[in-house]
């Protein structure tokens, strides 16, 4: 009998952990007023990988995502605890002396519902650059084209850059939002259920795009579509009631989760 010595897959106790990190949260807690929405969440975000956040509605996954660009600062009565470190530099972006604008300049976000500005296609993509003080027309045009190409939208809109962004289809609008986010060369791309308002074909386009993009940018995606998390992500974090239940390699989490709660959720036996 021919016997081969193959390494065993890690048992749940010695789960693998990403090595190169773009960011990580350490004991992150967050509250609105006196409602604790995130409890002590520590998740690593692997560089040039896609990390998916899954969990039932209201588990705090979007709240978690929105901590990264301090979106919660827009609203009164919110409080962060713990740290979010952005590498390289290990800067804690929740620190008191950090200006949220400075943080937002390094990251970009795409929202659940396509939300292009009611301006032209060109203006939409160029906006982030203009905010960053880029005024040279040539440079702007070049960047806009690049971003639209990265978002796989260039071919469809190159002849109507001055058309209203809201005249595009839903899927195109979302790719436009993606281009708008990419134009600023973000270090980390935050996606908040980016395909939940799209049809399956537009969704497939976006997913394809994400897989292409991870060569260049680290992606953190919130999704309520587990198949989507399974298809696109490298790492998955499962959250429930504001807590991290399990974090691991996507393929491991979806074939052999270590926690009963995770198993119940991904097999649809929740509650």
């Amino acid at each position: 009998m021919d016997v081969m010595e193959l390494p065993h897959l890690e048992s749940p106790e010695d789960r693998v952990w990403p090595k190169l990190l773009k960011a990580e949260t350490r004991a992150l807690s967050f509250s609105y007023g006196n409602r604790l929405a995130l409890k002590n969440v520590s998740v690593p975000i692997a560089e040039y990988k896609i990390t998916a956040l899954i969990g039932p509605s209201g588990c705090g996954k979007s709240t978690f995502l929105r901590c990264f660009n301090r979106m919660h600062d827009l609203y009164p009565g919110t409080r962060y605890e713990g740290e979010i470190l952005l590498h390289p530099g290990s800067r804690n972006i929740l620190a008191r002396d950090v200006d949220p604008i400075e943080v937002r300049m390094r990251l970009a976000m795409v929202f659940q519902k396509p939300n292009p500005f009611p301006k032209s296609v060109y203006e939409n993509v160029a906006y982030g650059l203009k905010v960053r003080g880029l005024t040279d027309r040539r440079a702007l045009e070049e960047k806009v084209e690049q971003a639209l190409r990265s978002a796989a939208l260039w071919e469809e809109v190159k002849d109507r850059l001055s058309a209203q962004a809201t005249s595009l289809s839903g899927g195109q609008q979302q790719r436009l939002c993606m281009a708008r986010a990419l134009a600023t060369d973000p270090e980390l791309l935050l996606l908040d259920e980016p395909t939940s308002a799209l049809d399956p074909i537009a969704t497939a386009n976006i997913e394809e795009l994400l897989l292409d993009l991870k060569q260049r940018v680290t992606i953190l995606i919130v999704t309520h579509n587990m198949q989507q998390a399974a298809r696109v992500s490298d790492w998955t974090a499962f959250m429930y009631l504001g807590e991290l239940v399990e974090f691991g390699l996507t393929k491991q989490l979806f074939t052999n989760p270590s926690k009963k709660q995770t198993e119940d959720y991904i097999t649809g036996r929740f509650g």
Partner: protein, 223 residues
């Protein structure tokens, strides 16, 4: 419980597999009986019945593909469906081997019995028990029982070796026995293959329960 219907379908899948396993075990029993009692008619019936097992194999495959396509199962469900698919193939092979044994039995019955059959029923019984236990392990999702099957396989290999030497000595003494001895050693080989298929099923059960792939790993590695 959003997945009640899916759960029912999974239970149904397990049932089908258990039914197929029962049929396969029966085939082993009858093939062995046909051999030992030199009953060619029984052997013919075993050969005829093989298509029933084949049909169940197809049915289970289709059910699994449907479950995969329509429910996109994950985690334990995914392991259950994929394992069921593979186990059904193993059972189908086991049944084929029973058919082969029956064919050899019919051929052997055309000549006088070479020797009293002692080892062959022992190996056969062992193989049948292994099949039964591996399927029990699957139905109960009992990885401990599955690991026991893995150990039993070594016993079959040993008995097989012993029988082979015995048949070899027959053939060396009297060349007229060669055709019968070779047929008997085929039967022994078939039984040994059955035990291997049972081992495969047991390994699949360990994967199903623990999520660990232990196939093609040395048994010396602590399981």
């Amino acid at each position: 419980m959003a997945q009640r219907h899916f759960d029912e379908e999974l239970a149904e899948l397990k049932n089908k597999l258990a039914r197929m396993a029962g049929l396969a075990e029966d085939q082993i029993d009858k093939a062995l009986a046909a051999l030992v009692t030199r009953d060619s008619a029984l052997a013919c019936r075993v050969i005829e019945r093989d298509h029933k097992v084949n049909a169940l194999d197809v049915e289970i495959d289709e059910a699994c593909i449907e479950l995969l396509a329509l429910h996109q199962p994950a985690a334990h469900d995914l392991r259950l469906v994929t394992t069921a698919m593979k186990i059904s193939t193993e059972l189908e092979r086991i049944s084929d081997l029973s058919e082969n044994i029956s064919e050899r039995a019919i051929e052997l019955n055309e000549e006088p019995q070479l020797k009293p059959y002692i080892d062959i029923p022992r190996i056969g019984n062992l193989a049948r028990v292994m099949v039964k236990e591996s399927i029990d392990a699957f139905v109960k999702e009992d990885s401990k029982l599955a690991r026991k099957v893995l150990v039993d396989d070594d016993l079959v290999d040993d008995l097989m070796e012993q029988l082979f030497r015995e048949l070899l000595s027959f053939m060396m003494e009297n060349p007229h026995t060669i055709s019968r001895a070779i047929r008997l050693s085929f039967v022994a080989k078939y039984l040994e293959r059955m035990a291997d298929h049972a081992t495969n099923i047991a390994e699949l059960v360990v994967y199903l329960v623990e999520g660990k792939i232990i196939r093609h790993t040395s048994p010396q590695v602590p399981l």
